[in-house]
């Protein structure tokens, strides 16, 4: 079973609360430049802490590392339990990385209520970190829900679209709707644990701790029920087809910074690999679950790609390309083999650079033409060669060109899916063709050809801040594409543990004599 490496210094708590504390500190400032500088400093320190964790992380290990454990509500078995393993640690780094870029991006693109914006952004960072760091399911749920508050305000108050109020509400409602089911699922997990604990006289009698929950068997029928409850929670958030209709609205109406978070941090699918699959291995393996998820995944790949093909607004296009990519992630996850899981995990990280990167590009386009609608572009490559180059590079990463990060993830997913069932892999491969088609077609019309009539002559190429963002993303894209070894080594231990867990199921976990010690 998973071992736990406690840390002597509560670094995860620092990572978790630094942005929130920072947000409160920002309140004290009145000068906008001061606010920006402080926000950037906080985000950078946060990134430094995350990188430190990544560097000190023991690779090729399934252990929960840097663990911190404090009782919170002992009567209910709820605790403040943070830790990272190969599955979550990269997301911590990614969140910190993207937040820095968003602060840089927002430097001059957010003009009103800068202080509140930065506060909301940092609050969002804390809640997102909370989702990735929490080992206790209630703690996880709390952060999952709290995320909505800053998100709601970011979309509603700083969105550019006319329908931003509707979009914000829709996003919140969708997530909440899913959350209700998820909460019931979590409760059932706790109750199952409780029954087991009563029988065996294990203390504590209640627990929401992932590690404790992993140590008890769950009857198959119960697993299936819980699986679908959690599934709804994660599917609405991800969003998976056909629960996706909030996404185009939120991405189109909300500010770019929010879009980067929504499209770049794959919380929903993270939920699957963090909780659903390890906690409910037998249900995850069951025929119905595999068929339903695979069909939804494949439908998402094709549906998203074909929809993306005809979009004339770049952000709407990206929304559907996101849905298509999530389809890939899902089929990788439910291939339930090493390559599939590894590929999905890597792809979730990759999308944080490529899809999120394309949203930054959309932002660059937006700040030049005040829209991302195709009719306002054309022949941009002539006037803004740097923008066009980075656009192409990041776009190619998102369609999985070898040499970029996208390929490594997509290749592993497809290999995994194909190994699981050639039919799934065979259908998914067609997504590769559509991907090229929708991206290149938009690119051709927006960037190539003669300069569009609506394009201003005075249009400027990337300025230094934008260049920093684009370069940082490009470096990550090429690094993971050409030398993914450090990333793979980080995740491999946990992926292997997950595969083992899937093979054994929950019952076997009990047979091993020592259930994990939950103190």
């Amino acid at each position: 079973m998973l071992e736990e490496l406690a840390s002597t210094f509560p670094i995860l708590t620092c990572i978790l609360f630094l942005p929130l504390v920072g947000a409160v500190v920002l309140w004290l400032f009145d000068d906008e430049d001061m606010v920006r500088t402080s926000a950037l400093t906080i985000a950078l320190v946060e990134l430094a802490l995350s990188v430190f964790v990544l560097l000190r992380f023991t690779p090729e290990s399934a252990a929960m590392q840097f663990a911190e454990h404090v009782e919170w509500i002992p009567a209910l078995g709820i605790s403040y339990h943070l830790a990272v393993d190969g599955i979550s640690v990269l997301f911590v780094g990614l969140t910190a990385f993207l937040t820095v870029l968003i602060v840089i991006y927002s430097w001059d693109t957010v003009r009103h209520q800068v202080k509140l914006y930065m506060m909301a952004l940092l609050a969002l960072e804390t809640t997102t970190m909370g989702v990735f760091l929490s080992i206790d399911l209630i703690l996880f749920f709390v952060f999952w829900e709290l995320m909505l508050i800053p998100s709601y305000f970011l979309i509603k108050l700083w969105g550019g679209g006319a329908e931003r109020h509707y979009a914000a509400l829709k996003y919140v409602l969708y997530t909440l709707l899913g959350s209700v089911f998820m909460l019931v699922g979590i409760a059932l997990l706790d109750l199952n644990y409780h029954q087991w604990a009563m029988l065996r006289h294990i203390e504590p009698a209640y627990s929401f701790d992932l590690l404790a929950l992993l140590s008890v068997p769950i009857p198959f029928s119960q697993q299936v029920l819980i699986f679908w409850l959690l599934f709804l929670g994660f599917a609405f958030k991800a969003p998976l087809f056909p629960f996706h209709t909030w996404l185009p609205n939120a991405l189109l109406e909300g500010p770019i910074g929010m879009a980067v978070v929504l499209a770049g941090l794959k919380l929903g699918t993270f939920g699957f690999i963090r909780f659903s699959i390890p906690l409910l291995p037998d249900a995850s393996k069951s025929q119905t679950v595999v068929v339903v998820t695979m069909v939804l995944g494949l439908a998402a790949i094709l549906y998203g790609a074909i929809m993306a093909l005809i979009q004339s607004d770049f952000r709407r296009l990206l929304a559907f390309s996101s849905i298509s990519h999530l389809g890939f992630v899902v089929i990788g996850l439910f291939a339930l083999n090493y390559q599939g899981l590894q590929g999905s995990l890597l792809t979730m990280i990759n999308l944080g650079f490529s899809t999120a990167g394309l949203f930054f590009i959309a932002g660059f386009l937006y700040s030049r033409q005040q829209t991302t609608e195709l009719s306002s572009f054309g022949g941009m490559a002539k006037l803004t060669p740097l923008l066009a180059s980075f656009f192409l590079l990041i776009g190619l990463a998102s369609i999985g060109l070898p040499g970029t990060n996208g390929f490594v993830g997509e290749f592993l997913i497809l290999l995994g899916a194909f190994t699981a069932n050639w039919l799934y892999g065979g259908i998914a491969v067609t997504g590769v063709i559509f991907g090229a088609a929708y991206f290149l077609w938009y690119y051709e019309r927006a960037m190539l050809g003669p300069v569009g009539k609506a394009v201003k002559d005075s249009i400027s190429d990337l300025h230094p801040r934008e260049l920093v963002i684009a370069s940082a993303l490009s470096i990550m894209i090429l690094w993971i594409g050409l030398y993914p070894a450090p990333f793979l080594r980080t995740m491999n231990g946990s992926v292997q543990a997950l595969v083992d867990r899937l093979e054994r199921g929950t019952v076997a976990a009990v047979e091993s004599k020592q259930p994990v010690k939950v103190d």
Binding site: L173, Y174, L176, P402
Partner: protein, 654 residues
Amino acid sequence: MTDLLIKLIPVFPLLAAIVNGLAGRKYSHEIAHRLAWGSVGLSFLCTLGVFIDVLRSGTAHEVIAYQWIFGGDLTINLAYLVDPLTCIMLLVVTGVGLLIHVYSVGYMHGEAGFTRFFTYMNLFMVSMLLLVMGNNYVVLFIGWEGVGLCSYLLIGYYYDKVSAAKAASKAFVVNRIGDAGFLLAIFLIFINFKTLDYTKVFAQVGQLSPDMATAIALCLLVGAIGKSAQLPLYTWLPDAMEGPTPVSALIHAATMVTAGVYMIVRNHAIFDMSPTAMFWVGTIGGITALFAATIGLVQTDIKRVLAYSTVSQLGYMFLGCGIGAYSAAVFHLMTHAFFKALLFLSAGSVIHALSGEQDIRKMGGLSTKIPWTYRLFLIGTVAIAGIPPLAGFWSKDEILAHAFTHEHYVLYGMAAIGALLTSFYMFRLTYLTFYGTSRMDHHTEEHVHESPMVMVGPLMALGVLSVFGGFLGFPPEHGWLHQFLAPVAGMGGEHEASTGLVLTLMMIATGIALLGWGVAHYFYSVNLSAPERLSAKFQAVYTTLLNKYYVDEFYDLVWVEPTKKLGQLLDWFDRTVIDGLVRGVAQMAELGAAGSTWREKYMVYAGLNVIGYGNHLIARQWRQLQSGLVHHYAAIIVAGLFLLAVITQLIMQR
């Protein structure tokens, strides 16, 4: 030592591409182009070193650069395998590549995107080198898609031209169809062999069931068809002529498009196990060879004629693979690289001389004005037409003879007719371009000039190779090349044809080539009105050929438009049906929210205040919130907690 040389081969162009790409604007074009062709030259020297070593020792080298993708039972290294087949490909790629780089210095002189051009060209070299050097399928695939990307970038070099931009996207997307097939092949191979390294795969190839071998081979074939522009995925190659001419020569004639042939030869162990797959390789090759040649008969753009000719010649290589004449296919790949590069670059020299004119109807009588270009183009024409003793004759004849002696008479027939057409359209091209009276407009005619030495020099080198290159494979089936390739591609062997038959077949082939020349001479030098009368008489056939059998239009109708229509339909579906459904659900939630109490609302308000949103600026938004977020949030949370409590109760009581 050799291992180091092998590792260095792709590094030089990579460095040049990085330096030129990042800093190219900071220094002059002089430095940029020296870096570009110099790096390819260094790669060529390394290749020579490696080649000599392989030639002497006869052993293949396998070198691992680093571990790339790994985990579980999968390990993919960035690693190289250099055996005789790779050596030949390396020599062609770096050798012809070097000549074309040097030529480009002259051709691209004064272009605005000069450094960008060389950056892409170097990047192409890196990808192509990985493609031929990889020791496993995934490295092959990196190169495979890498050359596709560079092809995209270079076809779209004049990106402000709509036609160029469209051609670039088309090339990439059509190639991706093939790539999807290739990916499937890779997955099948992994499932069957649990490895993706060539040597390990080929060592266990005997365990493969015939059906599985057919499946893998056909998937590989789909990939090869895309990259090598065979039926039905050839349509991107003629459009690819939008790129600058050196690009057409390097990528769309000499190197990239032959990748499919390389891939089939590399995997011949798998193809050999499947007669079905072999049948399809040969048939597709034969039909393409003939089909593309017929289109070439009537095209009027000098580069497009050459493009269809390339498609047709690649068909010959496929045909060769399909009948098991792997060495002959590689031989033809090599000679084709020489003479087709020569033809394209000479055509470039013509275009250069005529200030960009590509329509052969507006040329004529150039033989005296640009004599060197003319002579070299003629060498290329004679070589491709298959007139001995030039290079094209030996390699093409070997494929034809092999088809005949191995009783593939239908394929032989197709190839022979194709050869007749090839000879005809190539001499037609030569006659219309260089002979007769000038049809140029006055302004263009005044400016006609021979190209500078930096362009003519590489042409001469290619001319020499086109004349003498064929002797590397002499005598047929037993030449130096065949012996060198024997460890990889195997020797013909068993069906030893008699010398008499071989000579007869050679004479027939020569006769066919000369006949094509004769007809072209009659049409375009003796009876000048004949072509027009002929086209008028067979109007329908002529228009069909001129419109390339309407294949592009057909694909648009059957694939492109329906996909767009489907997209629009789905878009409607998404906005009305799916969104509508969920809106309905949301309304239900709203009903539930109506039941929530005053206190719950204000509890959440308080929570929000604590988090720091009590700011007076937000207060203006407050009123809107009342009916919005908080309402629902509270209701749903309460509903959830209530459910939780009920369930807890129920289970506790049990």
